[in-house]
Symmetry: C2
Subunit: 181 residues, 2 copies
């Protein structure tokens, strides 16, 4: 690939937060906060329903109408053994994401934990990469979750791996409300 | 170290975000957002003055009085060659952090980029670790920045390394307002 000379051009980035450590979703949330502070419209689609993540929804309410979070697949936790249902839910969430890209109404879209859906074979990475590549020029998209596929990493502008160095659960401490969920 | 059995106890965590990648500060901001959403009082002390980080200050205003950000050392960017001045500024910022710990008025403190100050020799890691270990039991503290010293990692509950896999600057793209600053 040709290495271009840096220029101060406005351009929408494709950002991937992956790895086995903490901070993939949280960094996306922090970016959302910063983006809203800069006057951006932000939409976050959550592919995985966690039972715990209450805090960000409270804040999203405060930041309306510039920040919206939608959780897809009520009750869906990736723990089901029902691959058919999981695939359906993932497809539905993805179809909603594609609509958001095509609508061009947001400056930043966050597809939270979408990498997991691809990693588990519920979504075709090629289809995701194709849609992301066709995004409006100025739109930023963040894709989070462990196991980001190579084709996505190749297509992305900014990729960070969050690596777990130490986790409190290993010392017998459970996740703490308000911090980890 | 003895491995304790997990229990659902409330406890304040010492969290370290380090590494050469993006997302260390941003994940801390995201955690702040979640914490405020859970009713926590959060204070973020920024050790490094970046010229760009406007977005989070706008949002902090919206989240007041539960979220405060204070930037220490106006004009201080770690680029000065004046080690004496840098050491003074770092000492002042740290003394403010220690006061915040002792005041016990916050549920979550974020010492943003403090690791860099230790890494550059402006702050004594042993002193930081000592103060952090004496924190109130339920208080959470997040310390960010590359080059987190080993003694801090040893003392921390949760450590994540953000690793740069791919950065847009390498493809000739400058940092994007609203996303990276």
């Amino acid at each position: 690939m040709e290495k271009k000379k840096g220029k101060q051009e406005r351009i929408g980035l494709v950002i991937v937060n992956t790895g086995n450590g903490k901070g993939k979703t949280t960094a996306a949330l922090g970016t959302a906060l910063r983006a809203v502070g800069s006057g951006f419209n932000v939409f976050m689609v959550q592919f995985i329903k966690g039972p715990w993540k209450a805090g960000e929804h409270v804040i999203a309410e405060k930041l309306k109408p510039n920040f919206e979070i939608r959780r897809m697949g009520e009750g869906f936790t990736w723990n089901t053994k029902d691959r058919e249902r999981d695939t359906e839910v993932a497809a539905e969430a993805w179809s909603f994401c594609k609509e958001l890209i095509e609508k061009e109404k947001h400056d930043l879209l966050i597809f939270d934990e979408i990498n997991v859906a691809m990693d588990l074979g519920y979504l075709d990475p090629a289809e995701v990469v194709d849609a992301v590549k066709k995004k409006p020029k100025l739109m930023h998209i963040i894709l989070t979750g462990r196991g980001a596929p190579e084709v996505l990493i190749d297509a992305a502008d900014l990729v960070t791996e969050m690596r777990e160095i130490k986790h409190p659960f290993n010392a017998g401490i459970y996740a703490q409300k308000g911090i980890e969920f």
